[in-house]
């Protein structure tokens, strides 16, 4: 299939879905549930161009500066993105550190293993009220919720990666004269990062979900908060507009990280290589 046909087919499919949506929305009763494409677009436009777009930045109780944007959406979006990136980075770093540490100290890992399993089994969403009580309605509680999701995913995979390093590789590098710290730097860390680098995409997805759910369950700002407000007034068009904004962000992360992943995982065998090789 040529490139043009492919994109034509995709455009046709999109058009068909939008038509179906408009057709359903023509019925007023149904429109209450499914919204209307036109109204959703209008809402998006209102968010981008009108309303109070000021964002006050505080450090503790001290007002640092006030940013002014042309629409309501920007401060909320900025908050959500900041939370996501913080949860991503902090969860990644802590998962990596703890995964390496436990991977390299099997006794400790054996002692802790039931506790870790239990902690991971806790449905993360129910932590949200607890985190809000501890950390308040601000961004800290959202970041914390995102971290709980990211941390365990990264931790388990790094731990596994460290435990599964081939003994022959270790033996070779040790014989070539590596001390323990060099062994970590040259063998364990790259082995662990291998998984991390090839799944940055999944990981930021987790951070995003954690943050938005956190906002939705209790907050004063963020895209999740906008959706929550709209839901309270049964404004389905605004809810849909919020979902579209979130989807666009997720796609943006996807594109950015896919490139990074490819670059960082160059040493990996591509899956479409001939299968005869290891």
């Amino acid at each position: 299939m040529s490139w043009t046909t492919l994109w034509l087919l995709r455009a046709a499919l999109l058009l068909a879905m939008l038509s179906l949506w408009s057709w359903l929305a023509a019925d007023d009763d149904l429109a209450f549930f499914v919204g209307h494409p036109h109204a959703v677009l209008q809402q998006l436009w209102r968010w981008l161009s009108t309303g109070n777009g000021s964002l006050e930045l505080y450090w503790r109780d001290h007002l640092l500066t006030t940013l002014n944007f042309p629409g309501t959406l920007y401060p909320h979006l900025l908050i959500t993105l900041t939370e996501t990136i913080l949860a991503f980075l902090l969860g990644l770093a802590s998962g990596l550190a703890v995964g390496l540490w436990l991977g390299l100290t099997p006794t400790l890992a054996r002692v802790l293993s039931p506790f870790i399993k239990a902690a991971n089994a806790v449905p993360r969403v129910v932590l949200a009220p607890l985190l809000v009580m501890w950390l308040g309605l601000g961004i800290a509680s959202k970041v914390a919720l995102g971290i709980t999701l990211v941390f365990f995913a990264v931790f388990f995979n790094v731990y596994q990666g460290v435990r599964e390093v081939s003994p022959a590789l270790l033996a070779n590098v040790r014989l070539l004269g590596a001390n323990r710290w060099q062994l970590v730097r040259i063998v364990y860390l790259p082995a662990a990062l291998g998984w991390v680098f090839s799944s940055l995409n999944t990981v930021i997805g987790l951070a995003f979900v954690g943050v938005v759910v956190g906002e939705y369950l209790g907050s004063t700002r963020g895209i999740g908060y906008l959706i929550l407000q709209a839901e309270a007034t049964f404004d389905v068009n605004t809810v849909l507009a919020g979902i579209i904004v979130l989807t666009c962000c997720a796609l943006l992360f996807d594109v950015l990280l896919a490139g990074l992943e490819r670059r960082l995982s160059a040493w990996r065998q591509q899956s479409d290589d001939e299968p005869g090789r290891r």
Binding site: S166, V173, L175, I186
Partner: protein
Amino acid sequence: MTSTLALEMLDVEARHDRLLALARVDLTVREGEFVCVLGPTGCGKSTLLDLAAGLKPAHGGQIRCHGKPLLGLNRHASYMFQHDALLPWRTALDNVSLPLQLRGLDKRHANQQAAQWLRRVGLTDVPDHYPHQLSGGMRKRVALAQALIHNASLLLMDEPFAALDAQTRQAMQQLLLELWGERRKSVLFVTHDLDEAITLADRVLVFNAGPASRCIEDIRIPLPRPRDTLSLRKDPESAALYQRLWHALGHLPPTPTNDRG
């Protein structure tokens, strides 16, 4: 104890869980000596090298390296594994320069030397390839370059040339002999190829089939050096050695019509 022994095993025993792989192995490698190990598959040759490298503890007996009992890793050994142990996230060049970098040499100089070694093993085009992009034989040669650049006094090699075509194998054998002649390393070399053993070794040790395998023959190869495989094929003395080794391995002696004239 004589100090001219690079490696000495006395009454050594090795187990894998309950399997007794090696029993009562006695073996010596003198300084600067090239010793080949022959034996049926699964008899414990790789296990023997693991012991010599200090990767596996012996369950009985004693191992000495340069006269001192071997405790833990053997710091005098450079080990080329049977299955390659290259780091998949490092390029060929970075894998070869690893031993130098571990020794604290700066990256630029280490890479310069590594590039020279890659050239010596006949790999000029692939310094930036990752192991998964190399053929099996190329990976073997990268591993060879890595083992040689490490420059330890005892070289342990486990079927290093098994995956190479005849021409490349011969070139690698010549390279190994050259280096060995220059630097007088002690070599313990595992192979299944009788010709290879005859071309390379001062002595060939023949192991019997496992379990509880041990060294059953210790055959000196008195052929003059430098040797080269092609002319050895026509040499009657080498043909006689070939027969002896074949015999020792438990096969019937080759019939007179055998193409090794």
